[in-house]
Structure formats: structure tokens, C-alpha cells
């Protein structure tokens, strides 16, 4: 692997793949079971150690994510942007690119959506669509900066996307301080600083009520996108070529799948998904995501968590659907835990444990496969 393949993943030697069949599903099941159990036990111990009782905490988690009126709708609403971000991450991952700047792309996307949403301000339903589209364009352009740096200047996208999170945050913060950009007129923001105007009623994504829960349209869009992307990657020529690029850039180069063209497209597309997630948060509203307006810290870790969802789902768009829901449940559930008298910050730690629990099995499997691969590559005396 030389010349044209700067991102070539070291191919696993064929020999190392041999022992990879049989009992995989069982292993996965066992690993997830064990690690989740471990996280729960650790969390329980932690709660007990700080003078609390674990049972009410578990109840609170379930109440907050599912059981209390309106809560599963809320969880769905949180799952939607997580899933959209994750699906985008999967696209770039398939092309062999590591985008970790979703948090920034999401924020920039939301800012684009806000700015153009108000600038154009057309009739209701049409403007909602425009808001979503501009969110995607914003996120895509922001990832496009990283793509440009990579394919023009050879800057690794892992670095550039990450750095652009900070830069994007600064830029949007500036925009939020300027009335000619994003800052709402004084009349619309009371005496709050740095918020945009609230989207008008007819500029929001509908949340029809079903069984006492507001079911956000954003969740439906997210699931549809996950299904579409999974089909596109598996069934279309474009998806085929993207996978080829991710798996063997040299074979791809010979076959007419240029790094620059396909790689840049994949990276920008993944940014566009993050931006779309931002726009969906803006227009979808709900308890967790501001109030149909752009505020500082708007992204609230949805970008990072979405990246985790993709990681846990191991680059399978359909698997990301339930994973996003679980992560969303942790988030909405934990907001109820505070009420049990347990120190608020402890719920963050518990959430961390659970995230780790979901990340450990893929990591263990990855390390094991890699150890085998390395053993194959090196331990043959």
C-alpha cells in the first residue's frame, strides 16, 4: 500500500480471519449481558456508598424514560437526533473515514437552519422542510472544510473534524451575539442574551399525540433515514463503491472510485446528517432541546453521543435504531433520578457506566480479533 492510499487501514491478514465463525452471536449476547450487569452493579454500589438506595434509582430511570406519562415520547424525541447523527457517522465510516466532529457539525447545521429559516421565512410546512435542508447544508459544509483539508492538504480528518468542533462553537457563539446574524431582537428574548428568535408555531415539526405521548415527527424521519441508508449502502452501486473504498482504497482507485470524490462526498454527507440532526432538534423542540430556538450549548452532547451510538452499533444503520433508543432512554431517565435524593452528578457517573457497558463488548471483540490478527501477523516465530 503506497502512493494513493493515505488512509489504508492495515488489512487484517486473511489468516487471522479464519477462526471467526461460530458462536459469535452467543458471545455477543453474553458480553452485553455481563457488561450491562457489571455497570448496574457498579451503579448500585455507588448509589449505596453515597447513602442512597438503588431501587428507587432504577425506578426513576424507568419512570423517566418510559413509564411516566409522556416520557416515551420524550425518549423518542431524544433518540431522533442521536440516530440521525449515528447514521451519518456510519456513512463516512463505511468509506474508511473517521468523522468525530458531529457535535460541531450539528451546531453549525442548527445555526444555518436558524439563520436561513428566518431569512426566508416562507409559509409553514414549506419552511420546515427548508429549515431541515439548510441544517443539512450547514453541517455538510462544515464537514466539507475537513474534507478540503484532507484531500487538498492531507490533514487527517480525525484531527480536523475534532478541531472544527471548537471553531464551529466559537463561530456560532459569535453569530448569537450579533443581531444581524442570529441574535433575536430584544423584544423576542426578554433580557436573555445570546438566544435566537423562537420558531413560529407553523415552522415546527409536528408532534402528534398518540396514547398520551407526543410522538415527534423527527423520530419517524430518523428511522426512515436509517432504513434508507442501510439499503443504499447494501444495494446501490454508490454504496457498493463506498464500501470498496473503505475496505481497499487501492482496488477502489483502480476501479474508478477516487478517494477524493467518493471520500469527500461521504465525509460531507456524514456532516450533513449531523447538521440535519441539529435542524431537527431546532424544529422538533421538545423538553430536552431548547425551545425551538438556538441557544449557546445547543448541541448538548447529542453529537458526541450519536458518535457513540454508531460505535456501539458497529456501523450497522439498522442496529443503530435500538441503540439510539437505549442511549436516549438513559438520558431522559436520568433526569428523573435527581428526584430520588441521589446527588445529581452521580447520575452522570451512572450514565457513564452504562455507556461504557454498551461500548465494552465491541471493544473486547475488536481487541480479541485484533490480538488474533496480530498474533497471526507476528507470533509465528
Amino acid at each position: 500500500m503506497t502512493a494513493t492510499a493515505p488512509t489504508t487501514p492495515t488489512p487484517t491478514p486473511a489468516a487471522a480471519r479464519a477462526p471467526r465463525q461460530g458462536g459469535r452471536a452467543g458471545e455477543w449476547f453474553l458480553l452485553y449481558g455481563l457488561s450491562t450487569l457489571g455497570a448496574l452493579v457498579l451503579s448500585a454500589l455507588l448509589v449505596e456508598a453515597t447513602g442512597g438506595d438503588w431501587r428507587p434509582v432504577v425506578n426513576a430511570l424507568l419512570d423517566g424514560s418510559l413509564r411516566k406519562p409522556g416520557r416515551w415520547g420524550e425518549t423518542l424525541g431524544t433518540a431522533a437526533p442521536l440516530l440521525i447523527v449515528a447514521v451519518g457517522t456510519i456513512i463516512s465510516g463505511k468509506a474508511g473515514l473517521i468523522n468525530i466532529g458531529q457535535e460541531g457539525q450539528l451546531f453549525v447545521g442548527a445555526a444555518f437552519a436558524t439563520y436561513f429559516g428566518f431569512l426566508i421565512g416562507g409559509p409553514g410546512p414549506l419552511n420546515v422542510v427548508l429549515i431541515l435542508i439548510f441544517g443539512a447544508i450547514g453541517g455538510g459544509l462544515w464537514a466539507g472544510v475537513a474534507a478540503l483539508l484532507k484531500f487538498w492538504r492531507n490533514v487527517p480528518e480525525v484531527l480536523s473534524t475534532l478541531l472544527l468542533v471548537t471553531v464551529g462553537g466559537q463561530l456560532v457563539a459569535y453569530g448569537l451575539s450579533q443581531p444581524w446574524l442570529l441574535l433575536a431582537p430584544l423584544a423576542d428574548r426578554g433580557n436573555r442574551n445570546q438566544v435566537s428568535t423562537q420558531l413560529a408555531e407553523d415552522n415546527r415539526l409536528p408532534r402528534p399525540e398518540i396514547f398520551g405521548n407526543e410522538v415527534p415527527l423527527a423520530a419517524v424521519i430518523a428511522v426512515a433515514l436509517a432504513i434508507i441508508v442501510s439499503l443504499v449502502l447494501a444495494r446501490t452501486v454508490w454504496g457498493f463503491r463506498l464500501r470498496m473504498l473503505g475496505r481497499n482504497p487501492r482496488a477502489a482507485q483502480r476501479s474508478g472510485v477516487g478517494q477524493t470524490r467518493y471520500g469527500a462526498a461521504a465525509l460531507m454527507l456524514s456532516g450533513a446528517f449531523a447538521g440535519l440532526a441539529g435542524a431537527a432538534m431546532l424544529a422538533g423542540g421538545g423538553f430536552s432541546f431548547g425551545n425551538y430556538q438556538l441557544v449557546p450549548g445547543f448541541a448538548t452532547n447529542i453529537g458526541w453521543t450519536g458518535l457513540l451510538v454508531a460505535l456501539v452499533a458497529r456501523e450497522k444503520a439498522l442496529v443503530a435504531i435500538p441503540v439510539a433508543f437505549i442511549f436516549a432512554g438513559l438520558r431522559t431517565g436520568s433526569s428523573f433520578v435527581g428526584a430520588t435524593g441521589v446527588e445529581g452528578r452521580i447520575t452522570d457517573v451512572i450514565q457513564g457506566f452504562l455507556v461504557l457497558a454498551l461500548l465494552i463488548p465491541p471493544a473486547v471483540m475488536f481487541l480479541r480479533d485484533r490480538r488474533r490478527a496480530r498474533a497471526a501477523a507476528t507470533e509465528r516465530v
Binding site: P13, A15, R247, R372
Partner: protein, 539 residues
């Protein structure tokens, strides 16, 4: 110990426990039985050759000894003791080492770094370099420890693999097709020194190979595998090539391919070439270079600086006409790899140009060469020839999906149908069209490449080391297909480090040295002596 029921009679001192005894070993992958109740013994002080068609189960059997594959049934005894070899580490602790069929080196690292990979504790570069020097001397495997692996030729990479294996002085050494990328001289030297070490230090060696001649000369005992079973055991001293070929394939194999596979074409024979069925049939193709027809492929004054700053291609010009097979002879590392990469759109030239039918093809632009009608069988299939993590069917349409897609959507059914047709035509052994490429045996992966490149109806076909890893029968078939392609009007460029292969198939031969064409002759006027001089850069 069932006293040597599987031994060739009297070859081994009675009573000594074999170094390795496979007992009733079975390994299944889904519906495929890769190894079927195999009994096999390896003895200290002896080299054991294993022959068999592509997919016969040779590599799988060896991977069980090295702990990469676990047997479903049966047992493995090392020095008489039954052992469960769960991992390569366990195998290493038992003193077992293997040189694999496919490279597993890290291109970005240097030779000594690759050799040291996996070493526990602190690295001592000095000591490792010394050890590399020792091995180089002992086995005739000379190499620069500070060279970057990515810049080495296939032959030199193979040396690194072998040194990596030999560095820890394994008692039991497995070579899985080690010489497919070594020159005949290199392999002769390797096995001569190996033989000595084997005899002196009582090691047991396995050699898996498709080169009958090499197996006959380098080994003591020979086992032939067919469809997962050991079907024949003989002493090398009592065997001959036709018998082995028949034993492997289960039918007679034509003399010509035998000659290619055997590497038995001596200077004398080559000079008296009257018995060859290949001498250009019409004569017109051989002289086509000069008859004024427009070439299909022409490379004009191609120059390219290699990564080390030394020129990889120097002012190279070459014309290829429809219907001819042009052989590129030369010692490996004289620009052949760059020539192949250039025609695979993997390299851009510093100066010069490539045209097809008189139209310039932009070099280094992704897919341009393939679109212009250049098919390539690359010298290292894992580099740009296949995608291991995609399915067999997908690998058959890497370059062009138009036949199996409609409006940008893959038609699974027609892909499946196409793949099944190819599997039949090229006798690819696999679990089915959806088998992941990495699960195919080396020779079957090579067949996939051949099938794809031919199915694309190229104008020009670049075949670089096309028979690498193929069994005797498949080599014969490969030759037939190349000839048929030429007859159908394809211009074929055959790049090979095996002179026999070139002499066997080419109508015209050009010699490459230091990145340029230093000589050219038609098949009928070949003078082996002069050819040798040209290849050495002396003429």
C-alpha cells in the same frame, strides 16, 4: 504410537515419535469440508512436501498446526504428546513457526521493525539487525534491515516473512507456498541451506507448494491432498512429476503446463523448441510489431521516479498490438511492479504517456485505465486485485457494475447468476457467491481475479505473475485462456519472473532492466544466453 503406518516404508527410524502427528483431523466450514479425516506425520530431520489442488485443504491443515484454526475432530500430537493448539502463541511455545501464503507485513515499517513486531519487552535494534544478518548468511536470504517494506519487491518481502519465521529457531517450520514469489535460484538456495539445518539440528519442515519440481528436489516425503483428504503418500526419491501431477488433479496434465509448473525447462530444451505447441501459429502475430498496424496500447517515454529517488521507469516505450502476447522478462524489481501499477491507474508518470487506440489515457486518474479497456491481473492480488472483506460475487464486479445494476441499484439476482456462471467456468471452489473473499483459498482468490478481468472483455490484458498460487491444472487453464484471449484480439502483456512461463506463451519478448526496455526478440529468434545477459543488465 501406531508405529508409522502412514510413513513411507523404512524412511524413518522405527520407534522415534514423529515430531507432529495429525490423527483423523477434520475441519468443516459450513458445508465445505476443508480437511477430511487427515492422518499425517512429520518427522525430525525430514522435509515433508504437501501437494494438492487449489482448495484441497493444505493451508487449513497447516493453520491448525499453528493455532489459527481449531480442528472439529481429531487430535494433533507433538513429539508423541497430544496437544491442543489454541493460538499462534501456544504454537510458538511449542516451537512451531509458519511462513504464510499471503504477506502480513506492515508496509510503513522497516525490515527489522517488521521482524521485531510482536516481540515482548524492550526492543534491541542492534541485536535484531545482527540476527537478520546471521539468518541472511545461513540461509542465503540477504536483505537490508533498514529498507522500508513498502518499497520492497514481492520476492524481498517474502524473504522478510521467512526471516521473521526463522528468527526464533523454530523446531517445526511450515512453509505455505514460500517460493511463489522467489526466483528459482533463490528457492534452490533456500532449500539447500534448509536441508542442511534440518539434517544437522533434527528439525521438521513442511513445504506446501504447487511447483512439482521444487517439491521433488527439496523434500523427502510427499503427501498429496485432494478434496480435504490425503490420497497419496510417497517418497520424493521414488516419485516423478507426471505421477505427482496426476495424483493431484486426478487426470493427465498436458506437458506444456507441466513444464511451466515444474520449472524444468532447461536451456537445452528451450533451444530445441520444436516440440512446443506454442510457437506462434500464424507467424503474423509475431511480426505484427513491425507491420505498421496501429498498436492498441502504446506507452511512450514513460518516466517515473521511485520512492527512493531512483528511477522506477526510465523513458520506457512499449507498443502492444491486438492479438499478440508480449512477455516482459526481467529480474523482479526492475520496474515491473510500477508498470503494472501505472496501467492500474495507481501511479502518475513524471513524464511520458499511455494511449489506447491512439487516444491518450490520463495516468493516475482513478479508473481511467480500466475504463479505457485495460484489464489487470496484479502481481499481488491482495494489494489492488480483490477486496477481502467483500463477497466473492462483489469481487467479480469491482471494476464494472453496469451489467448487474439498473439505474444505480444492484440487482442481486443477476449478480448471483453472473457469479454462479463464473464459479462454474473458472472452477472456483467456494461456499457460494456470497462467501466472503477472505474465506477462499489463495489459488481460488486468484481465479476470481482472472475471471473478473476476462469477463470485462478488455482490449488489453496485463497479466502480472498470473499463475502465482495456481495449481498445475489451473496453470494449464490460465495459459489456455490467455491464448484464447489473444486469439480473440486482446493484446496481452505477460509480466512474469518465470522465464518458462514467458517462453511458453509469448509471441514476442521484451526484457526490462532498471525501468527500461533493454531488448526485444520474437519468440522464434529467442537466444536464451542473450536473454540472460539482457536480464542481468549486461548487454
Amino acid at each position: 504410537m501406531e508405529s508409522g503406518s502412514t510413513d513411507p516404508a523404512g524412511a524413518v527410524p522405527a520407534g522415534a515419535a514423529p515430531a507432529v502427528a495429525f490423527r483423523n483431523i477434520t475441519k468443516r466450514f459450513g458445508a465445505v469440508t476443508a480437511c477430511d479425516r487427515v492422518d499425517l506425520e512429520l518427522h525430525r530431520g525430514r522435509i515433508h512436501g504437501i501437494l494438492g489442488e487449489n482448495g484441497a485443504g493444505k493451508s487449513t491443515l497447516m493453520k491448525m498446526l499453528i493455532g489459527l484454526v481449531l480442528p472439529d475432530e481429531g487430535s494433533i500430537r507433538i513429539d508423541g504428546e497430544s496437544r491442543a493448539i489454541h493460538s499462534p502463541l501456544a504454537a510458538a511455545n511449542l516451537g512451531i513457526g509458519m511462513v504464510h501464503q499471503h504477506f502480513s507485513l506492515v508496509d510503513a515499517l522497516t525490515v527489522w521493525e517488521n521482524v521485531a513486531l510482536g516481540e515482548a519487552g524492550r526492543l534491541d535494534p542492534g541485536a535484531i539487525r545482527n540476527r537478520i544478518g546471521e539468518i541472511a548468511e545461513q540461509y542465503g536470504l540477504v536483505i537490508d534491515p533498514d529498507a522500508r517494506v513498502g518499497e520492497l519487491t514481492a520476492g524481498l518481502r517474502q524473504r522478510v516473512e521467512i526471516i521473521k519465521c526463522l528468527r526464533r529457531d523454530p523446531n517445526i517450520v511450515i512453509f505455505d507456498e514460500p517460493t511463489s514469489v522467489l526466483t528459482p535460484e533463490e528457492s534452490v538456495q533456500l532449500f539447500a541451506s534448509l536441508r542442511q539445518v534440518v539434517a544437522d539440528e533434527g528439525r521438521a519442515v513442511v513445504l506446501v507448494s504447487h511447483k512439482l519440481d521444487e517439491v521433488l528436489h527439496a523434500t523427502d516425503d510427499i503427501s498429496i491432498m485432494r478434496q480435504g483428504q490425503v490420497v497419496d503418500r510417497l517418497l520424493a526419491a521414488e516419485a516423478d512429476a507426471p505421477t505427482l501431477a496426476r495424483g493431484m488433479v486426478g487426470r493427465e496434465v498436458s506437458l506444456r503446463s507441466e513444464r511451466a509448473a515444474l520449472g524444468v525447462l532447461s536451456v537445452d530444451e528451450a533451444n530445441g523448441f520444436d516440440d512446443t505447441p506454442i510457437a506462434p501459429t500464424t507467424g503474423s502475430t509475431a511480426t505484427s510489431a513491425s507491420d505498421g498496424r496501429r498498436p492498441v496500447l502504446s506507452i511512450t517515454n514513460a518516466s517515473l521516479r521511485g520512492s527512493g529517488g531512483t528511477p522506477a521507469l526510465q523513458d520506457l516505450s512499449l507498443d502492444l498490438h491486438a492479438g499478440e502476447i508480449v512477455g516482459v522478462a526481467g529480474v523482479e524489481g526492475n520496474g515491473q511492479r510500477e508498470l503494472g501499477d501505472l496501467l492500474s491507474s495507481l501511479l502518475s508518470l513524471d513524464s511520458g504517456s499511455v494511449s489506447i487506440d491512439g487516444t491518450r489515457v490520463p495516468d493516475g486518474r482513478s479508473g481511467a485505465m480500466a475504463r479505457a479497456g485495460i484489464g489487470v491481473i496484479p502481481e499481488d492480488r491482495h494489494d489492488s486485485g480483490i477486496v477481502l472483506d467483500m463477497t466473492l460475487a462483489e469481487n467479480l464486479v469491482l471494476v464494472d457494475q453496469s451489467a448487474v445494476a439498473q439505474r444505480g441499484v444492484l440487482d442481486r439476482r443477476s449478480l448471483d447468476r453472473f457469479a454462479r456462471a463464473m464459479i462454474d467456468e473458472f472452477a472456483i471452489q467456494c461456499a457460494g457467491p456470497d462467501a466472503p473473499m477472505w474465506s477462499l483459498s489463495g489459488g481460488n482468490q486468484q481465479r476470481v481475479v482472472l475471471a473478473r478481468e476476462l469477463a470485462q472483455n478488455p482490449k488489453v490484458l496485463i497479466a502480472a505473475q498470473p499463475t502465482r498460487g495456481l495449481d498445475v491444472g489451473a496453470i494449464e487453464y490460465m495459459g489456455e485462456r490467455l491464448e484464447a484471449a489473444a486469439e480473440a484480439g486482446v493484446a496481452v502483456l505477460l509480466i512474469s519472473s518465470e522465464l518458462e512461463e514467458i517462453l511458453d506463451l509469448s509471441h514476442r519478448i521484451v526484457v526490462m532492466h532498471s525501468g527500461r526496455i533493454v531488448g526485444e526478440m520474437t519468440r522464434s529468434e529467442v537466444d536464451l544466453e542473450q536473454l540472460g545477459l539482457l536480464m542481468g543488465g549486461a548487454a
